[in-house]
């Protein structure tokens, strides 16, 4: 699947926190950028020796078509994309991004939104706040961060919607959970809960909501990416022409397939959307996605190459030409 990209120029770059870098992106040729729905992200093609394609939430109003903004936390233990955004991108640079997509749109039927952010998980809620405020839909934003002086974008959100923002300067998240225990116990029918943050914090919020009687249909999650665990190199074989490829420890299976010239469809590159699902002819995948059902995982008939790997050295034989 050919992916259309947009060329954008880095108009501004600045630090929002010691490890968070904000990039303002504007169209190269003056053509307005596509408007988007709240919660949307763009895939940024990050330059480098090993180019990366990383998804970042758009942290601006959905109708901001003259400039997009992203905020990226540097993950030194990551696969290099966020480090590239911090180290290799400068104002004036032209980047390729993919048009906005959304796996975290607000529930239109909700009459009230409880938004919960941990750290850099605040980014998708910037577009939420703009939209909900403009529509006059009731919402409250609970934001926990580790910076004592306030998390990234906090000042801006407090200025935008002072009555909605509740801030918790607490790296453990305990004060956030204590507050949510009360909030989630008494919210009217029609309220929906949306959460974005580090996996342990999200799991704790989901568990709390479940204890308080919130069903799955009211809980909506945006995970940063799969917090993958250790990676080891492995071998892949293509069932079509029998070609063998090596997947290095610092690249994903999808990246290795792309480097070999294969056109594997993808959208989120985070193990969430299901677009890149690929058939497995032989071998046992190490499933790390959040898309396949437990039954599909157990069958080992499918793998999500954007995040999943191989259990052992392989070869993992894929149903590809």
């Amino acid at each position: 699947m050919a992916v259309t990209t947009l060329a954008v120029r880095v108009a501004e770059a600045r630090a929002l926190a010691p490890d968070v870098r904000e990039l303002v992106l504007e169209p190269v040729d003056g053509t307005p950028l596509p408007p988007f729905s709240p919660g949307s992200h763009v895939v940024v093609h990050v330059p480098g020796e090993r180019p990366r394609k990383n998804a970042y939430s758009l942290a601006c109003a959905p109708w901001s078509t003259d400039r997009y903004r992203i905020a990226v936390r540097r993950l030194d233990a990551g696969r290099g994309g966020s480090v590239g955004v911090h180290a290799r991108v400068a104002p004036g640079d032209v980047l390729a991004i993919e048009p906005p997509r959304n796996l975290f749109a607000p529930v239109a039927r909700a009459t009230r939104h409880v938004l919960v952010a941990g750290g850099i998980g605040i980014t998708p809620f910037v577009s939420y706040a703009h939209q909900l405020r403009a529509e006059g839909v009731a919402f409250e934003l609970h934001y926990a961060f580790r910076e004592p002086g306030g998390g990234p974008l906090l000042d801006e959100l407090e200025a935008l919607c002072p009555d909605a923002v509740h801030a918790y300067a607490d790296p453990t998240g305990q004060t956030l959970l204590a507050a949510l225990d009360d909030v989630l116990s008494r919210r009217p029918l029609g309220t929906h809960l949306s959460v974005c943050g580090p996996a342990p914090m999200m799991d704790a919020v989901v568990a709390l909501a479940g204890d308080l009687g919130w069903p799955a249909s009211r809980i909506h999650l945006e995970r940063f990416s799969v917090e993958a665990g250790p990676t080891a190199p492995f071998e892949v074989q293509l069932a079509g022409d029998g070609r063998r490829l090596s997947v290095g420890e610092d690249e994903s299976l999808l990246e290795a397939l792309e480097a070999a010239g294969l056109d594997v469809p993808y959208l989120c590159r985070q193990g969430i959307c299901g677009e890149c699902r690929t058939g497995v002819v032989d071998g046992t995948p190490d499933h790390r996605d959040m898309f396949l059902t437990p039954e599909e995982r157990a069958s080992d008939a499918w793998v999500m190459p954007c995040v999943s790997r191989c259990a052992g050295a392989g070869p993992l034989v894929l149903d590809l030409p």
């Binding site: 039927r109 009217p188 009687g213 009211r218």
Partner: protein, 183 residues
Amino acid sequence: MQTAPSSPVGVSERHTTVPAPSTLQPDPNGRAHLIVAAPGGRPVADLVAALHGPVEVLVGCDDEPGELEAALRERLAQASVGLRLYVAGSEGLVRRVTRLALEAGMERDEIHTEVTASAARPVWCTHCKAITPDVSTTLVRCDGCGRTLEVYHHFSRRHGAYMGFQADAELPGDLPEAQTRWP
């Protein structure tokens, strides 16, 4: 006993919005529970006994649906997320109450239903938008516009009713034989 819906060939039971037969089960995840029951319907004492947390029972009457609906609306307007709703009674009551609960902001996984009395269906006319209640036959005269409607295997959650369309639209007067299917 309710019979399984007669799905035409090609209708996916997993994806159709046509309600599948269900029985009332206690929902252990609820923090408070509201039971709506019709008189003479299924006894709910065992359900009440199995539930943890506050339980309220609203007793409805098919003859005066307005009263029950008003009471339920008022109750749901005060409710917090964590509530579970249980509805037992005729198909008509179950669908009306479910629609009302969805309008009040409840989610489908918070609503448990069981048809314990007449399976006669509410039918929404695709021509005049009127709902004809308590339809037990496959053909019915629309309460709104008088057209003869065929009750189709299609359910609108928003209207809480099955869809009916003019049975002889293609060839006026060419009507299939009416059958009693939802007594």
